[in-house]
Symmetry: C2
Subunit: 113 residues, 2 copies
DNA sequence: CCGATATGCAACTAAACAGTTGCATGTCGC
DNA sequence: GCGACATGCAACTGTTTAGTTGCATATCGG
């Protein structure tokens, strides 16, 4: 149950990597605020071209963070909050382990070992 | 209180970007499991050179995730779990906003106005 | 059918970055 | 002082990637 293999968090790297881009964070924020929407609507106000947004959506989809489907001539994209929970869980695990490590260190220094 | 400006989360980008690298995630995991330790110890078993680890520590420090201090001839590094909490909080905000957006969409579709 | 809208695919450029090697500096133990 | 250990600094390379432009395809409304 290490943080890198437990609870469906085996691929935390690609997950954080997908979130580690300002433009992609903007897309995620826009999706979270406006609900499911098309690429054209996501592009408006993003400051980059439509193709750039498309590519970022593809990266986010690769990390399992978003999901899109063609509807007529539009492509509607939506968030997949499950992955966000996964990321949050990974962070909590690391934080917890750190506290435990500090506890062990304290015991050792105090002569418990 | 948008996710990009609220609660000390103004710079979520660099934060996730710092976490979005397998080698850095390894360093973070190793720190969290073993407590404060030197660069040499972090390097052992990392699969990369000491300079690479040093650089990654610098990046993590830039994001406020780790903190180091020279002690004798060694440089001891430790995790700063506060930033992990910040990241977790950001994720929760996004997730919450998404649920709200879906709620509004549902009301709209059902003819609430 | 036709114009407008919305997207997909492909090639190109420029910048960022991970990782390396080589050398210099400073500290510990004897 | 001397050898061993630990780190810092700098230059170089190869790869990845964000962003762009140009063109092709498919859908909607009349």
């Amino acid at each position: 149950m290490s943080p890198r293999s437990g609870a469906g968090l085996a691929r935390a790297g690609p997950l954080f990597s997908a979130l580690g881009d300002e433009t992609r964070l903007g897309v995620v924020a826009r999706l979270s605020a406006g609900g499911p929407q098309s690429i054209a609507r996501l592009t408006a106000g993003s400051g980059v071209t439509r193709q750039s947004v498309t590519r970022h959506l593809s990266v986010l989809a690769g990390a399992g963070l978003v999901r899109g489907a063609r509807r007529g001539r539009e492509s509607i994209w939506e968030l997949d909050p499950k992955r966000l929970d996964d990321a949050s869980l990974w962070l909590e695990q690391i934080s917890k382990r750190w506290d435990e490590a500090l506890g062990r260190l304290k015991s050792f220094v105090e002569g418990d070992g």
